[in-house]
């Protein structure tokens, strides 16, 4: 009897031990996790963790680059940066979790397309106005005032836009070799309708290729035509024109411009300029170009775009710009840097942001890597891979962080690309609602229902596959789904927003 009891006790103990063992096996490498001295004492540098979006970057040498950056920052502001790239795949999940807890995180890339407004609503990122005034007064000289103001939410700055292309124009871009072969001069093209004649020639001369392909199921042929004229205010539900002063929202899908371009796309489709499976194909334009199935596509542009596409497609490209440059309402808030509520040193974090906008060496390290290892000067203000280096070990997605105008352009790009960009940005027609963000909380049901209708009709109509006569049905279903309620709600918010400007 006693023996049994002893045995039972031992079993229970074992059981408890098993549970315990599982729960607290040693905590792994703690030195990475330890938040550094938060007081920012005189001798010990503060470590600032910086979470940013990683979209197919190459970060083999991230640690080396980080060490180089830290040499500069330690000297200048007695702080170190810990770079924490997060894949887009994991971004929403991981940043939400980090911001829910108290893990060390100081700087974070924020974006209107990635929860910016909900981060502000939950208090996960902090107000920056006073900090900018005190610790980063130089930032406002790096970008147009409208852009910096355009990132505000309810009159408060929560994010600082990266310096990049703030505007975009639209047009057609195609393979240079094919156009040259058939003596086609794109500069004669003034409207999207003018492209029809060119497509006709291309179709006859190159029967194995499509003169125009769609970029994706959401960036359709028709979208690429109307977006240069229409300010979608975020979601294309309730829109404004760029070239009038009205702030009265209207339904894009009933507008003349939508019908006009849907008809044009349908004409192209019927003539066989567009791949027959355009409304369902998941292939990107780049894949189609590389497979020699496509000659060109409609796209948004910026200075230096041809060179960028040349790299992407692996062939010389030539483009024609059809619309004027415009800056949409979400331009400013599309990529920003914010300070997380987790930060124990918001002041230091702001000083770090200041460096990201003013220190040429830091920006180049972050964007291009270490000089001599990841790039060398090409002599004309541009940079190239060092001789003998075939494999890139560091390549960052540049556009989202800090002042990109300080980064050296790569060879092949115009050395004065950033001057061109500045002129381009300044020439752009600004949205009347720059900085306005539509809060969909009150119309959640409608948003979901309308989205279903959009998913059903848009790929068909906007790739040109469906006859534009379906637009009437499309609109009827949109209205049944609550389109008008959404537009009314947006109008209400827009009016209130305009009052505060």
């Amino acid at each position: 009897m006693r023996l049994t009891f002893k045995f039972n006790a031992m079993l229970s103990l074992l059981l408890a031990l098993a549970l315990l063992l599982a729960a607290c096996s040693s905590g792994g490498s703690p030195e990475r996790e330890n938040p550094t001295n938060s007081e920012g004492g005189d001798d010990k540098p503060v470590e600032l963790v910086f979470a940013f979006l990683n979209v197919a970057s190459i970060f083999k040498d991230l640690q080396k680059v980080e060490d180089e950056i830290n040499k500069i920052t330690q000297e200048k502001i007695n702080a170190k940066i810990k770079l924490m790239p997060i894949d887009v795949a994991a971004w929403t999940q991981q940043t939400n979790l980090i911001l829910a807890g108290s893990e060390p995180l100081d700087l974070i890339v924020s974006s209107a397309t990635l929860n910016y407004s909900s981060q502000v609503a939950k208090g996960q990122i902090i107000a920056l106005d006073d900090l900018i005034e005190q610790y980063a007064p130089d930032i406002k000289h790096t970008m147009p005032a409208e852009i910096l103001a355009g990132a505000k939410l309810n009159g408060v700055t929560y994010g600082i836009p990266s310096v990049r292309d703030f505007a975009t124009d639209y047009g057609y871009i195609a393979r240079k070799d094919i156009l040259d072969k058939h003596n086609i001069d794109l500069s004669t093209v003034k409207t999207f309708e003018d492209l029809t004649a060119i497509f006709q020639i291309l179709k006859e001369k190159e029967p194995d290729m499509y003169p125009i392909v769609q970029r994706s199921q959401t960036v359709t042929i028709v979208t690429d035509m109307f977006t240069g004229y229409i300010d979608g205010l975020g979601n294309n539900i309730g829109v404004l024109n760029y070239d009038d002063d009205s702030t009265q929202l209207f339904n894009l899908f009933e507008s003349d411009i939508y019908r006009k371009y849907s008809e044009l796309a349908h004409e192209w489709y019927k003539k066989g300029f567009v791949p027959p499976d355009a409304s369902t194909s998941q292939e990107s334009n780049t894949a189609m170009m590389r497979a020699n199935k496509a000659i060109g596509y409609l796209s948004n542009f910026k200075p230096g775009f041809e060179n960028q596409e040349k790299v992407a497609n692996g062939m010389e490209m030539v483009a024609v710009r059809i619309t004027e440059p415009v800056s949409s309402s979400s331009t400013a808030a599309s990529f920003m840097i914010s300070i997380a509520k987790n930060s124990k040193n918001p002041e230091k974090a702001m000083e770090m942001i200041n460096l990201l906008y003013t220190d040429k060496d830091i920006v180049n390290l972050l964007d291009n890597g270490i000089e001599g290892i990841h790039y060398v000067q090409a002599g004309d203000g541009t940079i190239k891979l060092p001789d003998g280096v075939t494999e890139q070990t560091y390549l960052a997605t540049q556009w989202m962080i800090g002042n990109n105008a300080l980064a050296y352009p790569w060879q092949g790009t115009a050395p004065d690309i950033w001057d061109q960009m500045k002129a381009f940005n300044e020439s752009a027609k600004l949205s009347k609602a720059i900085g306005f963000v539509f809060d969909t909380t009150n119309v959640k049901t409608e948003v979901a229902a309308v989205q279903n209708v959009l998913d059903e009709y848009r790929p068909g109509i906007e790739s040109g596959t469906l006859d534009p006569s379906t637009i009437a049905d499309f609109n009827k279903k949109l209205k049944d789904a609550g389109l008008d309620t959404m537009i009314a709600e947006k109008q209400k918010q827009l009016d209130a927003w305009l009052q505060t400007q």
């Binding site: 059981l15 729960a23 795949a89 780049t286 894949a287 910026k302 556009w399």
Partner: protein, 295 residues
């Protein structure tokens, strides 16, 4: 007699169709991984590509340093996770199966409770990262899998309770065997079917796990093969659905792996498991039937 034959034929046809429905996608996956990119874009995924190519596998070979590392991580966490998980589960299930354990029902209830309720993602994450500091460690890939297997424990307990006759244990006891001896020399060998079943389930769970990697890891050197694959596919999907990257989208797209490479990655992710499966199969069927019918 005749109708019996007819039935048999109908059943056979049904089974053949069912098997084909399971196997054909695999075949398509493997064929696509050997198709040239041109062929995939022209014809889509097809059983008869116009052109075959080893390009995808060459690309993966070029990436072998990061892929091999991911492979290593996957194998490591699978081996450790499965063996430790199996040990813990058996050690926990055995006492629960014995009538003499004090508070037996309480402990059983605790195990059962975890089947129905859990802390939710955010609290779980906070506990792992802020109390146990498991972020960016391999433990984050192993520990969560060890603790959420109430179902396995109940399966093993039921097997122990119903398939190991108490007289065997008692006779061993009389012969002077210690409890450890009884457990390791008598109970465990008699329980091979259920252990193999649970072992396989754990293996599959660890091999296919990408979620823990998705939330606990930011260091690419710790990514497992499924995590790598999942991130790659989600990245591609994200770029297709969001025009946010605007001007830069195509520059990014150029860095992404091609269709054939995605297929090839899926192939190398799944093949090792396919190779292991047949060895478990005979236990698997038996163990599942035993566990389920008598449970």
């Amino acid at each position: 007699m005749r109708s019996n034959e007819m039935n048999q034929t109908a059943l056979n046809i049904f089974m053949v169709v069912l098997t084909a429905a399971c196997l054909l996608p695999f075949l398509l996956l493997i064929i696509s991984s050997f198709a040239s990119e041109q062929s995939i874009i022209k014809l889509g995924y097809t059983f008869f590509p116009s052109e075959y190519s080893l390009e995808a596998y060459k690309y993966l070979w070029g990436e072998s340093s990061s892929l091999l590392r991911a492979y290593g991580i996957t194998i490591l966490i699978t081996v450790i996770g499965t063996s430790v998980g199996l040990t813990i589960s058996a050690l926990l299930a055995y006492p629960l199966s014995r009538g003499v354990l004090p508070f037996k029902y309480f402990f059983s209830f605790v195990v059962f409770f975890t089947l129905l309720f859990n802390g939710g993602l955010v609290p779980t994450y906070l506990v792992y990262t802020e109390i146990f500091h498991m972020k960016n460690t391999l433990l984050a890939l192993i520990i969560p899998g060890l603790l959420t297997n109430g179902f396995f424990i109940l399966l093993i307990r039921t097997y122990f309770a119903t398939s190991i006759p108490v007289p065997i244990i008692e006779s061993a006891y009389i012969d002077g065997a210690s409890e450890y001896r009884i457990f390791f020399s008598i109970v465990m060998p008699l329980s091979l079917p259920i252990l193999a079943t649970i072992g396989l389930m754990l293996t599959i769970a660890y091999w296919n796990d990408w979620f823990n990697g998705l939330i606990y890891l930011t260091e690419p050197r710790l990514f497992s093969i499924q995590n790598l694959l999942n991130r790659m596919l989600t990245n591609i999907q994200f770029l297709q659905q969001n025009s946010f990257a605007g001007n830069n989208a195509s520059a990014i797209a150029a860095n992404l792996p091609t269709n054939a490479v995605r297929m090839a990655m899926a192939v190398i992710g799944v093949v090792p498991l396919l190779c292991v499966y047949p060895f478990f199969q005979k236990y698997f069927v038996k163990g599942l039937v035993v566990g389920a019918v008598k449970g």
